[in-house]
């Protein structure tokens, strides 16, 4: 099966600093990928390269075969940024309608479906500045998936939200994957990582491990993912 997201020798340098270092990836459709790594390891830069927000120094990123950034590629992705990236002065519905319009999605059913997915349908008329942080995060997610993109990039989607909502989010992610959506999710939280189908461990701009949680634990010989992650990081640093 063709990869939904591909990176071929993807590299990004900022002066002397190499933020992403010759990354090769092929993400299969309908799966959830977890992008793990310490702060400053290059996770966000990698996502920005894959979404076409950053221009690679070398190599290329492809979404559904379209080299990024291209109109066709951008039309097939949804991107939830670390910042909420929604308009506080607009209502919940106005925000979602605006982002939907940018993708040419205008039918009311799509807007309602996205709002129902994040359980904000009863707050449609509320201005965003009146919403709590967790509700804003939900709206941010709804804005990323209102046009039903085949590929979703979620940069720390569960930061700052309570455990109950986090469980709900992951159940949504699972449903989306079951319907064929490919998700790439960054996270710091290891128990979230265990919910992913496959994990990508990033350190100093390179993907140093790629596999299921069980595969990585077995390869490193650690009994928890956290221990495996620490062992891999330490081993890489020592090299």
């Amino acid at each position: 099966m063709d990869a939904a997201v591909e990176a071929i020798g993807l590299t990004k340098r900022f002066g002397a600093l190499t933020a992403v270092d010759e990354v090769d990836l092929a993400l299969a459709p309908g799966r959830i990928y977890g992008l793990l790594g310490p702060n400053g390891s290059g996770k966000t830069t990698l996502i920005r390269l894959l979404t076409g927000l950053a221009r690679p120094t070398a190599g290329e990123a492809r979404v559904l075969g379209h080299r990024m950034p291209s109109q066709a590629g951008l039309a097939s992705i949804g991107y939830m940024t670390q910042a909420d990236g929604i308009y506080p002065e607009l209502s919940v519905l106005e925000n979602i309608r605006f982002f939907a319009a940018l993708y040419g999605t205008t039918e009311r059913a799509a807007l309602t479906a996205a709002l129902e997915l994040v359980e904000l349908a009863d707050r449609a008329g509320t201005p965003v500045f009146e919403l709590s942080g967790g509700l804003r995060r939900r709206l941010s997610l709804a804005c990323a998936l209102v046009h039903r993109p085949p590929v979703l990039f979620l940069d720390e989607p569960t930061v700052g939200i309570d455990p109950a909502l986090r469980v709900q989010f992951w159940s949504h992610f699972r449903d989306l994957a079951a319907s064929g959506t490919t998700l790439l999710v960054t996270s710091h939280v290891m128990d979230e990582a265990d919910r992913c189908d496959e994990l990508l461990l990033v350190l100093a701009g390179r993907v140093i491990e790629h596999g299921t949680s069980a595969e990585i634990r077995a390869r490193v010989g650690a009994d928890s993912l956290e221990a495996a992650f620490l062992a891999v990081s330490a081993g890489n640093r020592g090299r």
Partner: protein, 387 residues
């Protein structure tokens, strides 16, 4: 009250500014620069001597009056252009901006003087710049006083009638300033509003999100121009209505009678006024988008006011006519959009200039050109690459 805590707070404030070089510059460098510019304009502005034409219908006095104007020209008090054949010819010269002021000496002046009557002369000005017109009229009166006074024993003090080619001789400063402030405020507020809005777009993560959608940079800029263009349109309608309207409201009970609106005179088409202000506003929208790249906070957008808006106010003909500015500053004034906006607004409101007026054509072309240029620059500042 603890001195230590107070000191901690004031020390913290100073430390914050140490890292914000731009605010430090705003506090110490910009005021010096702006005050310096103001001082330069005020001290070096040369009052341009008014260009005077005469219409002398009394052949007996012609030589004496012309001699007096020639002498005043040599003194540098006025710039004597010459004698026109008729009042109509003089009005044409005024309309074509070949002279600033015309003196009409009536045919019957000699008879009036001989009969001991007080003669009446007419001074015609353009009527565009009320302050400048007043100065020009005084200069002409002084020359006439010398010419007639010296020749007639000094006993005769002629009376002067004021007429204007445009507007009315009773025009107040408000009539001259009204149109200008209309443009200035539209420009200023639209710039501030867009600058802050777009900065929020950049810092709030929404621009990042927008750029990860199929939307193009040109689409963003045009969308902004259209959105703020509609706001500017409403603003101009409100301002224009208030400036031009003069509705008398009768006294009611304890409320005294009052008038609504400024009643500024308008000789031209409100639609043209509208077009000029809208072009100015579109330029301001794009300038706001462009400069928001160079600001990290809303405070820093506000800091652009003394750098971007104030110099345009000083040089754009808002208070001092561009021709009277120091020579070095005149070319600078000629590249600022507000200069053309003010010139255009004055042209339409005071002179009643239409689309066939060459000066107004230049004004509109420059404003449109600047708006397009700044739009292209603004598009370039929107980059997918933010890091």
């Amino acid at each position: 009250m603890s001195g230590r805590r107070v000191a901690a707070i004031s020390r913290r404030i100073l430390s914050q500014f140490r890292r914000d070089h731009r605010t430090v510059a705003l506090l110490f460098v910009v005021p010096v620069l702006v005050t310096g510019l103001l001082g330069w304009i005020v001290t070096e502005s040369h009052a341009v001597p008014p260009r005077v034409g005469t219409v002398i219908l009394s052949p007996l006095l012609a030589g004496r009056v012309e001699d007096a104007f020639a002498a005043a020209d040599t003194d540098g008090a006025i710039d004597y252009v010459g004698r026109a054949d008729s009042e109509d010819a003089a009005r044409r010269l005024l309309r074509d901006d070949d002279i600033d002021v015309a003196l009409v000496v009536p045919a019957g002046i000699q008879a009036d003087i001989l009969a001991g009557r007080r003669p009446t002369l007419t001074i015609i000005t353009q009527g565009i710049d009320t302050v400048g017109d007043g100065g020009a009229a005084v200069a002409v009166q002084r020359v006439v006083a010398t010419a007639i006074g010296t020749g007639t024993g000094g006993a005769i003090v002629p009376a002067f009638e004021r007429e204007t080619v445009y507007g009315s001789p009773d025009a107040t400063q408000l009539d001259a300033l009204g149109p200008i402030f209309l443009g200035f405020f539209a420009y200023f507020f639209v710039f501030l509003l867009t600058g802050v809005s777009f900065l929020r777009e950049r810092t709030g993560g929404t621009l990042e999100r927008l750029l990860a959608t199929p939307v193009g940079k040109a689409e963003i800029v045009i969308g902004y121009v259209a959105g703020f263009g509609i706001l500017a349109t409403i603003q101009v309608i409100v301002l224009l209505t208030f400036s031009l309207a003069d509705v008398q409201v009768a006294a009611l009970g304890p409320l005294p009678a009052f008038s609504l609106g400024l009643g500024v005179a308008n000789a031209g088409s409100p639609l043209l006024v509208f077009a000029i202000v809208l072009l100015l506003a579109i330029g301001a929208v794009n300038l706001g988008i462009m400069l928001s790249t160079f600001a990290r906070t809303e405070l820093q957008v506000i800091q652009f006011i003394p750098i971007v808006i104030v110099p345009q106010g000083l040089l754009g003909g808002l208070i001092w006519p561009v021709e009277s500015l120091p020579d070095v500053l005149q070319p600078i004034a000629r590249i600022l959009p507000l200069t053309y906006g003010i010139e255009g607004l004055r042209g339409v409101l005071v002179r009643g200039a239409g689309l066939d007026d060459p000066t107004l054509q230049v004004d509109l072309a420059v404003l449109a050109g600047v708006a397009i240029l700044v739009a292209l620059l603004a598009t370039r500042t929107i980059r997918r690459e933010v890091a």
